[in-house]
Assembly symmetry: none
Homo-oligomer: 306 residues x 5
């Protein structure tokens, strides 16, 4: 299968990487409904670890079963399915070769309310033996442990590269150094995305930025240079630009469950702003399967025509 | 993309392997014209190292260029392209993600006529950084160095498995302990295939067996139990049976260049005997590109309808 | 290309280093407009990580693109371009061999207002695979984490030396133990430079010292021995002297963006004081490209005639 | 300094390599009289080890002094200077940064007349601490130890790549399995060059092929396909083609000392055949310095206008 | 204590080495009667291992006692004392700081008459814990094991350098590939010295070359270029020149026991030829102590006035 011109162009931005990393980036881009478009819809299911099982799966109890998510990702035409070790291990052999897998290497439970920090729950070696195409890793800029996490990530990115695996960074500003209203602020989201790219992320995942500019120094700059941030589209544009002028792939999470209309509106604005796609967990697997398949198809249609 | 029933069945024979190995076996089986059929046509180009450049590429000088073979494998709809380090390295970044790659880890030149023995010319780490889906390795049953080679292979298969890579063994009976007429004998070919499977090969590659039974002990058994070996189809059946009752993939090389009719006849007999496919080097890349594309299409059509 | 007498003299101060380190120091000194003069103008772009993307690149949005800075450093005739992993990785293959690269191995974001501390965001191995001529590292003398950082630096300098890479230390006095007015004080700047040299830095980077002597003990000595610190030139002289009587290269940052006249005045005083050069980030890449090229040319002209 | 279009084109053939390797290839191509042309003249001085001191240096006793060769390579405008550990170590600090260095990692003395085999006399770590831009390694296809040597080389190439260093292979067919007349035969030289490329060499060095086709199988192919091999130019064309259709750099040794006219004739034919350059040892350093400088200038002029 | 001009000059030839290696070279040159002259008389006592105790010590039974040799080296004003592990260990604590020690890292016994090959009998770590200033290592150019030995030496030199220890190579051409009359031939001795220097030896030790030119190719060159080799002085000159034009220290062994006059004649010729000194074992410790002290004083007087 030949790479489309767009896929070639995107790969050209990663020319310092070895052919293994490029191959797995291409696999991500050549899979599913959006194959060849350079756009992404990824199904992530780490909420069982992060939020607990009932909060995650009670809305659609089929989701307690790990097989459910593999099949949903395949049937909906996603580019990939991302999960922690256990969920992947439960289905990786059965579904081998049917959907690119992303092993989320660190995760944080919410059994105690503390400063956010993730535990390493998987390794590059696990990703290889499970047949994954990439590893995922969460950072919490603004938290007291941020630097320790950056250093873990740096070492993992280097190890993953040598194994031919690209790295996807979940960037969630959060923690002691960051007020609640800053977590999804336009400036902070763009900054967290920039940090991820500087750390060597091949793909960055952030939340859709809200209409807030949080840092005083950033506010001055947004005002002085008239950086538009009124609409989500405008804010997404700023985030995309902050990912090396669009030369690093950045995708947006769906966040908390909401209704179809709200999601479709959000997705259209992300696509209009040049976002590379969506990573949509709860809004996919917490719906009944048919509703989820329909929603994901609609979302992919937006990106396909973007 | 879902796996076909046949692909699922084949993967079920490798259930002791980890999901990484299964994923890469599935990638091989889900690529190209024969995707989903469980059949294989692979383009191997190691002749530059094994026989020298002029003998390999003078018939079709386009083949001096490593890019040519990547493109031929892609355009002809092969399942994979196999080559030594240098040839893969020359195009792996440019063609990343377009064709599954197999790194041939050992190779032997023919500048001196000595007991056959291959040098390790690549490693599992190389296979990972180049984005390969499998490693290839040649053994010479019958040669004085055979046991050393089996031991190298054993270690490499284990290392490759941990990295999620299946192993493909080129089994060529040859050497001091083996007369010329034994090299492609029906019993010897089946025996070499069995050795490869016992060593842990996921895929075995042998030459089409000739109408000879070479070993005295084997002759007695072929006679006593009436093992048919008159036609190539019959002999292929015996080889397939010798690969764990058909539960290990075995494919057949095309050997020296010959005309289209001879090749098609051979392929039909291989297919009729239950062979999983062909690995066709000189008969592909030494033809003009159009002729090669036509021939490979014809060969694939045979396997598709088998 | 022969080394100039001045380059030879400077290299002679590093005679305990191996030829690899000397070679890379020579590369830095034999590149760009100032080749052969022993003077330096370096383009550093770590502000995306340190200050965030909008604050860094909104003034000249071309700078969101990592390629822009490689090209600016090349076209302006800089000695080198310094940046964190992500920015270097984005262009290192494309611009290979065109400009010496310095990998900044640690960086600190400003998403939370806490005690300054940098995370290790790169490694000596990264510097080698990216083709860098040196590594960069930031210390914050006066911060609570200073000793941990010094220890990291010590280990990295040793590892870098074995790989033939010199080390450049960004020395920024800052943190709990240091009042705001001390951060750029003449005595403190000289002290931080001395610490860097004592830790084994081959090149030190400090801010232009202000007309303050901060430490009581230092004040007594400045008074008793009449150390002049009225003009920037005088203060630079003291810093240069504090870098092993001028036998370690010390360069000065431009700091916040200001107008051309202010910069040129500062640069002239640095040059007059014996400073080895400028490392000029925001004052370069935040100007329109033409203005940046003109300014850098003017700055280089000052050093050339110094 | 920008890379010329030709340098960019050559680097594009090595796109699977990391930026460090590309940077050092660019350094080789951006140095000396031939900077930017993609052509090479390299000074190698390993004869003290390979042939003994008197045979090497008596014709021009200045060459006993290691400094002499550094200075000759610099003053003549060579792209690089290649030598074993001791000779490089003797001058690497003194001449740091003035000429790219290539550390020859294995060498063979001629104190006993035995099957050719080289000892490892240096390491990648040595190359880094000495500031080298590449490593050199000799193979003897046709010798009994060839496979062991190929395996050493394979491991060294991988280690060197990780350190950002390209590998240059000296390919000398020789040994028990190769008659004297085969050593420089057209087919054998092309074959040895192909083997080197397949092993991962970035640059190959062979002797100018003679008007012999040595292997019977090759003779048939040369005849059948009318591969011209009457003139050196024709034979060089075949060698260049055998180096991946000219996508791997191949340079030619000068061999034994001869007069200027003979050398210039040879060089013109190499250049006409598309050879990338010459590596000229004895014909350079065994002449008086002025004669060597003139000869090297004349040789470079041929390549420059090729 | 300042280094003399001559010591400074000699150290300048080792400028690629680290200060630790230079410091230990300086210790060797700043000890004993010849301190500051750049000349050497070293006492080596490895004959107990190499030839057996009675052959070594019966002529002067005091030599059975390891203390004897430490005291002899000290009292005679030698630059250093060299011995295998056991002999050094026996006195290293008692005589700590009184005489520079050289640990001979490999040794060969003569209990069986076989192809010469030494065993590693000590390590760099041993040399450090015993307070040695250098390590010693024997190579046998011309023997079948030569390449293995060169590779051991290469690794040891690198390890010793990192520990700040220079390496002294005992170069004895000998073995299957070398006829008896070649072992001390002028050309062979010079060649063995060159090999040692190329391998990275800081100091080379050879036997005084005899009036033979052994290799045919060398004979032609000696004749053609009129290299004088009639007198020992002339041959020593050639050896010194072959040690990088005199930029590597080369010293000469005394060989078998002989009378004072013969020794003094030899020493005078070595000194006249530019040899850096003598390493004198049996001719020292097999004489009665007073005679040995007198002889060594006479030898040193020759070098002092050279």
């Amino acid at each position: 299968m030949s790479n489309s011109d767009r896929v070639r162009q995107i790969l050209s931005w990663y020319s310092s990487d070895n052919p293994g990393v490029l191959t797995n980036l291409a696999r991500l881009m050549n899979t599913g409904t959006l194959a060849g478009t350079g756009k992404f819809v990824i199904l992530p299911v780490d909420q069982g670890f992060e939020h607990g099982p009932a909060r995650s799966f009670a809305p659609n109890p089929a989701g307690y079963d790990p097989d459910y998510h593999f099949q949903l990702a395949i049937d909906s035409g996603c580019n990939a399915y991302a999960a922690p070790l256990g969920f992947l291990e439960a289905g990786a052999a059965k579904f081998a070769g049917q959907i690119p897998l992303i092993l989320k290497l660190n995760n944080s439970d919410s059994l105690s309310k503390v400063e956010p920090a993730s535990a390493l729950t998987g390794s590059v070696r696990d990703a290889l033996r499970l047949g994954c195409v990439a590893i995922g890793f969460t950072i919490y800029p603004g938290s007291t442990m941020r630097n320790t996490t950056y250093e873990q990530l740096r070492a993992i990115i280097l190890e993953a590269k040598e194994a031919g695996l690209p790295s996807i960074v979940w960037a969630y500003p959060r923690g002691t150094g960051m007020a609640k209203e800053g977590e999804q602020a336009a400036d902070v989201t763009a900054y967290a995305a920039q940090i991820s790219c500087q750390l060597g992320a091949h793909i960055v995942k952030v939340k859709p930025p809200k209409e807030v500019v949080y840092q005083d120094e950033a506010k001055k700059v947004f005002d002085k240079y008239g950086i538009p941030s009124k609409t989500l589209t405008e804010r997404v544009k700023h985030v995309v630009q902050s990912c090396f002028a669009g030369k690093r792939i950045v995708i947006f999470s769906g966040g908390e469950a909401k209704d179809d209309a709200a999601i479709m509106d959000e997705v259209k604005q992300i696509a209009a702003g040049g976002g590379f796609g969506s990573i949509m967990g709860r809004n996919a697997f917490q719906r009944p399967r048919d509703a989820a398949l329909k929603l994901l198809a609609d979302v992919m249609a937006v990106y396909k025509s973007a």
